[in-house]
Amino acid sequence: MSEMIQAENLTFRYTDFSHTTHLALDGVNLTIPYGQFAAILGRNGSGKSTFAKNCNAIALPSGGRVLVDGIDTMQPDRIWDIRRACSMVFQNPDNQIVATVVEEDVAFGLENMGVPPKEIRRRVNEALRMVGMYEYCMHAPHLLSGGQKQRIAIAGVLAMEPKCIVLDEPTAMLDPRGRADVMHVLHRLHEEKGITIVLITHHMDEAVQAQRVAVLEAGHLILDGTPREIFVQTAKLHSLGLTAPQSVQLLEALNARAQAGLETDALTVEECADRLEAWLKGGRA
């Protein structure tokens, strides 16, 4: 049985302006099974975006290989199968919108694929409903907010019915409300449609919502586990240019300061409040 994305010993090399060669990815082994919601973290320059581009053959391995839906990305004649299985959404919504009317933008990929008009209509409507933008179908994209534009971009890939969507910092340019709306849509696609989600992000609160967190550093996969396993490692995260949720930091600080003896792996406000409530009311130390 194949996996959604399977990177084996993946290496990616590039040459910069001054003709120096860099290894953006250096022997990465990372497998993402069908139906997983995975977050990829790492500081700028850690190789996250390069990994994303290798997931749908925008970048091709310099060494090792990547299988997407079981297809090796080095096969040029299969590139459209790969991109149909695994779509990408980028950071800047303005760079991804091509049409002057929302529904035409969502239909763009389908028209290129030669899908019959009736089927296009059905898929565009469904995709816009899934991202909560159906009532905007006749609007001009440039008058929408950043979060709305990003949801239109997601609808555009959704209409192509991919098995997997890779998103490269889709919320980096959005305000808190836009971020929350995009995250809500991603959960919905994952839960209702079973789509595999690979979310590249700098926002720890988004990674906390994933089933799995992989951390890249200098082209290597350095941490891989559930959010609960990853986010309790505050010192390690800090050394990687990342931060743990404040809930974990707070419980750790109370342990250090007052020997509170609290379990630190609380990722949500409720979990953390539960532990603090018990400690505040708890037996005399």
Binding site: D16, F17, S18, R43, N44, G45, Q91, S145, G146, E169, A172, M173, D175, P176, R177, G178, H202, D205, G241, L242, T243, P245, Q246, S247, Q249, L250, A253, L254, R257, A258, V269, E270, C272, A273, L276, E277, W279, L280, K281, R284
Partner: protein
């Protein structure tokens, strides 16, 4: 303290209103009778979610937008009056837009930074000095001046854009979301840089941000906007004391603030006016003493 208070404000906004597309079906009141005064050397953060009017407000501060009603006074003088030198005001109130790295356009970094000072009509010698000074202020090596902006990383490009504003040596620096899209380490560096400019050079800073947390960490006064009006203003601890009001108005408060609010909802008498982990630790230790009555 009293002396600072008595000094006339460097910048004053009086009864400012702005209506977009007036007289059309798209008419929208973006600012509604906003008044704000800024003292020399202050570090103010303007916070609010999209559509709250914060960007509209700062675009009035150096005359990019004209008020529908009200005034903007710089050193006590209305910048929109007929006798005012609006072009000169723009050199003295430097505005750094969102994603300023997209606005670099010259062949070399040095030329890009020199663009502002050259427009001010400064001599070549002074321009060269200011470019060097601005590069140093943003922590970039002098050698970078010869490079093309395209050779730089995103974070470096943003610093170059900031250097371009600093080279005009503005009295007030207005920054629109200067850390948007940066990773946590990049955000930290940018804030250190801005704080350094404020502390060492005494530049008055007006920072616009979505993040209550970042604002509270760097600014001495917060101005929270909602629906085109100033909704709350005060020192960070005063503003955060009303954390539940902030949350209701759609602003994201830090996770520690939410945790303390949740405890309060559960009937625990904890003070919620805090925004850092360290402050929360103090509040919780104090609360535990009280709860256990010793």
């Amino acid at each position: 303290m009293n002396e600072i208070k008595r000094e006339a404000p460097i910048l004053e906004v009086r009864g400012l209103s702005h209506v977009y597309s007036a007289g059309t079906p798209f008419e929208q009141k973006a600012l509604d009778d906003v008044s704000l005064s800024v003292r020399r050397g202050e570090f103010i953060a303007i916070i609010g979610h999209t559509g709250s009017g914060k960007s509209t407000l700062i675009q009035h501060l150096n005359g990019l937008l004209r008020p529908t009603a009200g005034q903007v006074l710089f050193h006590g003088k209305d910048i929109f009056s007929k006798s005012a030198d609006l072009r000169g005001v723009r050199f003295r109130i430097g505005l750094l837009f969102q994603y300023p790295e997209y606005q670099l356009f010259e062949e070399t970094v040095g030329q890009d930074i020199a663009f502002g000072p050259a427009n001010m009509g400064l001599g070549n010698h002074e321009i060269t000095r200011r470019v060097a000074d601005a590069l140093e202020a943003v922590g970039l090596p002098q050698s970078i001046a010869e490079k093309s902006p395209f050779e730089l990383s995103g974070g470096q490009k943003r610093r170059v854009a900031l250097a371009g504003v600093l080279a005009m040596q503005p009295e007030i620096l207005v920054l629109d979301e200067p850390t948007a899209g940066l990773d946590p380490a990049g955000r930290e560096e940018m804030f250190d840089l801005i704080r350094g400019l404020h502390d060492r050079r005494g530049t008055t800073v007006i920072l616009v941000t979505h993040s209550m947390e970042d604002a509270a960490r760097v600014a001495s006064r917060l101005v929270v906007m909602r629906a085109g009006r100033i909704f709350l203003t005060g020192a960070p601890s005063e503003v955060f004391a009303q954390a539940d009001a902030l949350e209701r108005s759609g602003l994201t408060v830090p996770q520690v603030t939410k945790i303390l609010l949740e405890l309060r909802r559960r009937g625990i008498p904890v003070d919620t006016g805090c925004y850092t982990v360290e402050q929360a630790v103090q509040k919780l230790l104090a609360c535990r003493k009280e709860v256990r009555g010793c």
